[in-house]
Every structure is written in C-alpha cells, then in structure tokens.
C-alpha cells in the first residue's frame, strides 16, 4: 500500500527536478521571484498602479485640468461614499450634498455645509468629459516634431453623480478634483521616469559597452569621465540647468528636458557595471571564436556579450526607477520641474508645503501616499528581481 502512494510522489519529485534542471534562465528567475511573497505583493501593487495611471481618464470623474474645476467646491474636503446612514440602507453608494451659502449670517463669506438629509447617489459608467486613452501631443520647438495623435476616444467614466458632485479625495485651491489629478499624476511621473531610465540606459550601454569591450586607453578615458559625472551631485546640477529653462516653454518641452537631464546624470552606475562585466567576459573563448569567425565588434557586443547579462540589466533598470521618480518629484517640489497645471506627483506635492495646507487642508497629502506606495512597490519588486536573478541566492523549489 505504501509503495503505491510513494511512487507518484517520487515521480512528481523527479519531474520537478527535471523541470528545474531544464528550465531556461527566465523560468528560473520567475520561479524564484514567485516564491518571494513581499515582491509578489509589490508586483501586483505596481501593476495596479500602472493600470490606474493608464486608465486614469476613465477612472476619474472629472477633468484634472482647469477645465474640470468645480468652482462651487474649492479646497473642499474629501467626500466618502456611504451605503447606509440614519435614513436607512441603500444598495447604491451615496455621498451627501454640499451646499454653499453667502449671507449676512455668514458675514458675507462663502460657507459650505454638508446637508445630511440630501443624498447624491453614485452612478457607474456615466457619460462625462471626453478623453482619449492614447493621446500624444508634443509641442516641441519647430513644427517638424509636433505630434498630435489621438486614439480610443471615449466619454464613459467609471463613476459619477447625476446631480451635485463627488470628490473622493477633495479638491484643491482652484477646485480641481484631487482624485483625478492623482491618477493622472501617476502616469506622468511614470512616463518621466521611463524616459529618463531609457536615456540613461542607452548611454550606459554605449559608454560601458565601448569601455569594457575595447579596454586599454579608451577604457581609462571613459572611466575618468564616468567617475567625474558620478561625483557631481545631481539635484543641484538639475537645479542649475532647470533654472535656465525659459518660462514660456510648453509643459511637454519641460517634460522632455527633465527626462533628458535625469537620463544624462543617471547613466554612470550602470555603465560601470556593464564595463566590469564586459572586461571579464571578453576574455572568454566564445568571444575569441566569434572574432576568429570574422564577426565585427558591434555584432559581438550586441549578439554575444550583452545577452550574457540581460537579466542584470533589467534588474538594474528596475532598481534605478524609483530614484528617477524621486528625482522628478524633488525637482518639481523645488518648483523647477513640472509645474502646477501639469499633473505630476512632484507638482502635486509642491502644494503641501504651505502652512495653510498643513493646518487646514490635510487631504492635499493624499497624493503623497500614492508616491510612497509607488516608490515602495518599485523598490520591493527591484529587490525581489535582484534576488531572483542572482543564481547564488538560496533556491526554494
């Protein structure tokens, strides 16, 4: 009886071992990553946030720009949807109506009061402002680079009210919906980070690749430059550059320049790592074989050397991402990066530094929570990937 039970288990064991030994590098990394619970949770959080960023226009009930401002509810507190109150239960979530009054009683100032008797029901998939999920509008200097591309235009929104309004995270000083702004800001900050990472990645690949592959005096000169760039403190340098950006630049232009600056300062660490790896790798036999077969240098670097550590590059990019997002925020926070009409996390956080906000309008801090969550998610995923890509880390089957 025992033997009958034992055989399938042994079989399973053998299969699992076989699968382990025949797995590709990608499968191994994925298997290790999956067993890391905090990294998996962070990964899901990250995916959700990216999706939230992409579908921001659909999820947000109001236009995040001035066009969508609610002039009857400036600096308004967050409205929390309820299912029941003293008037009974409702299957449809509702918020309370807000009324605004200005009379001799209120000393002729606008005073908003919440009417607990009047409900504003939330409706789902309502029609609202028109948006395009893919909306590329670049207004760069010169008309040749202008791109104006729209696709997937809709006007359906996840939720809204039939009358009155709903501001889940409250509104800011000009009445813009903070919930909508936050969702859009996530996307902008991610985009700046991605562009910055890409630029620094390409630079690192070229500079590190050339230095590592050729070695000798080319390596020494490139190393000197890399070291010098690495020592320059980035944020003060950004500030020096950003301050000279003319005020009349469009927000897209600013966006590009900031990504460019982030990328131009961010490459040295990765370049150094690529170089060190190539220096050891280029002495291997397979490189010699390729050289003897007459392959040109570019081909060897691209086809033979780089694939040997793609996983490390991916991990490195993932790890450098939160720093990019952080730099963007820091720069925007100082007021030298993206500015208020643009929705970036940094631009939103810039609003919280006023004493007025600290004491009276604490809901301005809600975007900060999203920023912390975003950075934490990136860090955990990056760490998980690093552990997973390291063949010497302890493997759990």
């Amino acid at each position: 009886m025992d033997a009958v039970v034992e055989t399938p288990r042994l079989d399973e064991e053998r299969k699992r071992k076989e699968a382990y030994f025949t797995a590709s590098q990608g499968q191994l990394i994925w298997a290790r990553f999956k067993s890391n619970r905090s990294a998996m949770i962070a990964g899901w959080a990250l995916i959700i946030m990216v999706l939230m960023g992409f579908f921001a226009p659909f999820l947000s009930p109001y236009d995040p720009t001035v066009a969508g401002r609610n002039k009857d509810y400036e600096n308004g507190a967050p409205q929390i949807p309820f299912f029941w109150d003293h008037n009974g239960f409702s299957p449809r979530p509702f918020v309370y109506a807000v009324e605004r009054e200005r009379s001799i009683k209120t000393n002729f100032r606008w005073v908003t009061t919440i009417n607990y008797e009047k409900r504003r029901y939330l409706h789902f998939f309502v029609d609202g402002w028109t948006y395009s999920l893919i909306d590329v509008r670049w207004d760069l200097p010169g008309t040749a680079f202008d791109v104006n591309f729209k696709a997937l235009t809709f006007n359906k929104h996840l939720f809204g009210t039939d009358e009155g309004f709903v501001h889940l995270f409250g509104t800011d000083a000009s009445g813009k919906d903070i919930f909508s702004r936050t969702l859009h800001a996530i996307w902008t900050s991610l985009a700046v980070g991605t562009l910055g990472v890409l630029i620094s990645f390409v630079l690192a690949l070229i500079i590190g690749g050339v230095a590592g592959y050729f070695g000798g005096w080319i390596d020494s000169v490139l190393q000197m430059i890399t070291d010098a760039v690495r020592t320059v403190p980035a944020i003060p340098l950004f500030m020096a550059m950003a301050a000279f950006m003319p005020d009349e630049w469009s927000s897209e232009m600013r966006f590009f320049v900031i990504s460019l600056i982030l990328g131009l300062v961010g490459w040295p660490t990765l370049a150094r790592r690529i170089r060190t790896h190539l220096l050891t790798e280029r002495a291997q036999e397979y490189v010699l074989a390729a050289q003897l077969a007459g392959a040109p240098s570019g081909h060897i670097i691209r086809r033979h050397l780089l694939p040997s550590f793609t996983s490390y590059i991916i991990v490195d990019l993932m790890i450098s991402f939160p720093y990019m997002v952080r730099s963007e925020t820091a720069l925007s926070f100082i007021g030298l990066g993206l500015k208020d009409p643009v929705n970036s996390l940094g631009a939103l956080m810039q609003n919280v530094s006023k004493a007025d906000v600290l004491l009276n309008y604490q809901w301005y801090f809600i975007p900060v929570i999203f920023f912390i969550a975003l950075v934490l998610a990136f860090v955990f995923v990056g760490d998980g990937l690093r552990d997973a890509a390291d063949p010497y880390s302890s493997v759990k089957k």
């Binding site: 003060p236 004491l359 934490l376």
Partner: protein, 335 residues
C-alpha cells in the same frame, strides 16, 4: 614609506584630474544655457530703469573677457580657482563669490557631514546586529524601515516635524540662527545657538542616508558572515560580539568607507529640498535663490564645483584611510 607617498601622490593626481573634468563639464553646461553673464547683468540693469544698447553689451562682454574662445576662458577660470582659490564675481549681484559663499558653504558642508556621521553611527551597529540576527521579525522590521527611509520623501518628514512643533511648542523651528545671532560674529554662544537649530536639518538629511547605509552595511555583512573564515573562527571558540567585530565586520566595512563619498553626494542631493522647507540660510537655499530668480551662472558654477570638490576630497581621504586600515594594502605599500 616611499611607496605610501607615491600612492598618496597618485591618488591626489587622480583627484585633481577628476576635478578638472568636473570643472570642464560644469563650465560647459554653464556655457550652454541661453544668455551670457554680460547680457544677464545688463538685462537686470535694464529692469532697474537704465537704457541699454547693443554697444553696452559688447563692451561689457569685453570687460568680462567673454569675447575670448571657450577653452581660454575655461583655462583662466581653472587657474583662478585652483591657483588662487578665487571664483570671481557673480553675474548679477556683482559681489565676490568667495565672500558670498564662504560661511554658507562651510555651514552646509558641516551639516551634511554631521548627517553622514550620524547615519553611520546608527547604521553600522544596527546593520551588523541585524545581519547576524536570525529573527525574521527583526529583519523584516529593519528592512521595511530602511525601505521607508527611501520612499518617504524627506520634505514630508520635515513638514510633519514642523507641524508637530508648531502645534505643540508654538515654534516653527525654521532658520539656523536666532534673531540676535544672525549677523553676529562667530562666538561660542553663536555656535551653541547654531547647534540648537541645526539638529533638525541634520536629522532630516540623515534619515534617508541612514536607510541607505543600513542596507549597504547589512548586505555586506550578510555576504561576509557566511564565509569560511568566520566558521573557522567560530570553531576556534570565538563567538558573539567579539567574533562579529573582529572578523566579518572588518571585511565588510572596507567597501563602506569606500562609498562614503557617494553617500555625501546623495546627502547634497537632499540639501536643496530640506533647505527650502526649513528656509535655512545656507548654500542649498542660496542656490535656489540665485538660480530660480536671477539665474546667475557664475554663482551656480561655483556652488556645484564646491560641492563636487568636497566629494572628491572625501573620496581622496577615504582612499588613504582605507589604505592605512586594511593590513593587506598597508603591507603592500609600507613594506
């Protein structure tokens, strides 16, 4: 000993070469921005009501030597900085940059170095203990805390502390000096007053630096602690604190010392944000002022160069320190 001197000299030469490269980068960047120093000054004067002609701009350019080729100007800037230690005049304020920056730069540097020191005073013991601790709770808590140090923007921390102090003590904790000491000459009383104000920026700057340092120390210790020489030492009957500090820690701390310069770099990066929040009167805040309002490239170049120079200098010092501390290197150098 001769070898040690040779080593020091070669490191010094390398540091100077790095500084020259940096100065070239900074100088070129300052050159790339739209507008020259002369135009800027005259534009400023124009806003003050005086009439400006093209001839004025040309004359001013000539006076400042801006008509010379780029490399010549760079060389003369380098000569002024490296040989005489003079950064020249600022574009708009027309004041000597050395006088303008001296106090502010030293205060900034002092605060940053104090933050760095504080970070490692906490991170080294905690990192070593956490690496050797088997308890998953301690490890996870420390890991989460150090991640939070990275993710929590330090201006938020500053705001929370300031809000707390405003509500609790009615003092917003801004500035670096009390009113009566602001323009006074340096004295012990002023220094004490400074210390009483400086703890907050030091704490805020040290916050994320500690998180980084903790991660580094912990990772390095974890690498070392599993190695055979540690097992061998345990087999010889050494354990506990003695084992940790005498064996793996000595190996693990080498790279830490080596990375001090880059940690200082990171702290400099945080400086402007914190300075803005606390509205300190030091280099960070001055940088914002001089850049955001009047975009003064002479001043900006000088500040960035000074910051970089202190990092390069720290790197040089740590290189020498490491050589003296590591017996393998020391024997190789001193015989």
């Amino acid at each position: 000993m001769a070898q040690f001197i040779q080593f020091t000299l070669s490191r010094a030469v390398m540091a100077i070469v790095t500084l020259l490269t940096v100065s070239l980068i900074v100088f070129s960047l300052m050159e790339l921005v739209p507008g020259t120093c002369a135009e800027r000054y005259l534009a400023f004067k124009n806003t003050q009501g005086s009439q400006i002609t093209v001839a004025d701009i040309e004359a001013e350019k000539k006076r400042l030597g801006l008509d010379r080729p780029f490399l010549v100007r760079w060389a003369s800037w380098v000569e002024n900085v490296f040989v005489r230690g003079q950064f020249g005049e600022s574009c708009i304020l027309r004041l000597n940059i050395n006088q303008l920056l001296a106090d502010k730069f030293w205060i900034s540097l002092g605060i940053c170095l104090a933050a760095l020191l504080a970070a490692y005073l906490i991170a080294i013991p905690v990192g070593i203990v956490s690496a050797s601790s088997k308890s998953p709770v301690t490890n996870n808590v420390l890991r989460f805390l150090s991640y939070l140090g990275l993710a929590m923007p330090n201006f938020l921390l500053a705001l929370i502390i300031m809000l707390f102090s405003t509500v609790m003590f009615g003092d917003s904790l801004t500035g670096l000096f009390s009113k009566e000491y602001r323009d006074a000459a340096w004295s012990w009383a002023k220094f004490g007053d400074f210390l009483a104000h400086a703890w907050l920026p030091i704490f805020i700057l040290g916050w994320s630096a500690t998180a980084f340092a903790l991660q580094t120390v912990r990772a390095l210790m974890l690498d070392e602690i599993g190695k055979l020489y540690v097992t061998a030492a345990t087999a010889r009957g050494i354990f506990g604190r003695r084992l940790l500090w005498r064996y793996p820690a000595r190996h693990a701390l080498g790279p830490v010392i080596n990375s001090l310069g880059f940690d200082l770099n990171r702290i400099f990066n945080e400086l402007p944000v914190v300075a803005l929040i606390l509205t300190l009167t030091e280099s960070g805040a001055l940088l914002i002022e001089s850049l955001a309002r009047s975009n003064d490239q002479q001043l900006a170049g000088a500040i960035i160069f000074l910051l970089t120079a202190s990092i390069v200098f720290l790197n040089f010092v740590t290189d020498i320190m490491l050589a003296l501390m590591d017996p393998r290197v020391r024997r190789g150098l001193m015989g």
